[in-house]
Subunit: 131 residues, 2 copies
Amino acid sequence: MSQAILDKVTFNSRGLVAAIAQQHDTKDVLMMAWMSREAIEETLATGRVTYYSRSRRKLWRKGESSGQVQNLVDMRLDCDGDTLLLLVDQTGVACHTGRCTCFYRAQRKGFLAEVVPQTVDPNKLYGDKDD
Amino acid sequence: MSQAILDKVTFNSRGLVAAIAQQHDTKDVLMMAWMSREAIEETLATGRVTYYSRSRRKLWRKGESSGQVQNLVDMRLDCDGDTLLLLVDQTGVACHTGRCTCFYRAQRKGFLAEVVPQTVDPNKLYGDKDD
């Protein structure tokens, strides 16, 4: 499979590129994570979004533990090649806190408000595993 | 002005946090850039989005040269505190190439396609300056 996008990606000093996941139909921004060359290759080959976990230092197949997978709809690259925009179809919730998006806190006068409700109990997402 | 969000932001080793700009009404993802503590403070104080330019190593008041400013509508923070989502009202085009979004290239079979048209001549945006 040809992966022309890889020739134009500018990886950082750790070999990673930022990747924003956006739900393709509602256009909600779900999360931001990082991808390695291998993660991009696997994502394009399988149609399932795979990131690179900086904390665990290995490929992170989104939803492998929780079932909350992301199917790739389109992969976009920005003008300077250092950020990807992934249009995805998210199964369930994107955030490990049980919310549809990771961006659930907002600046308000004097405090940080939670503006997106929890729709799933995170304990039910993971049991004794994490994602 | 209280800036509660600053207490919860996890800055990286360079003192920066990733910031995604999304047009608040169309929900188009416009660009990704970086913010310092000072950039966040200035953005919240003025309502105009200010980033930190890693290449120029200074505050980057978006649109200062081009007029293509971003007015802040809301500032969101993700679950682990290392990415901001800026809901903005973009004047003109977000991308220095003259396109509404920086994410104008897409992976297609065998090639990288340009899927977002240029709507402004970039020479007319900047004259002899850059942004």
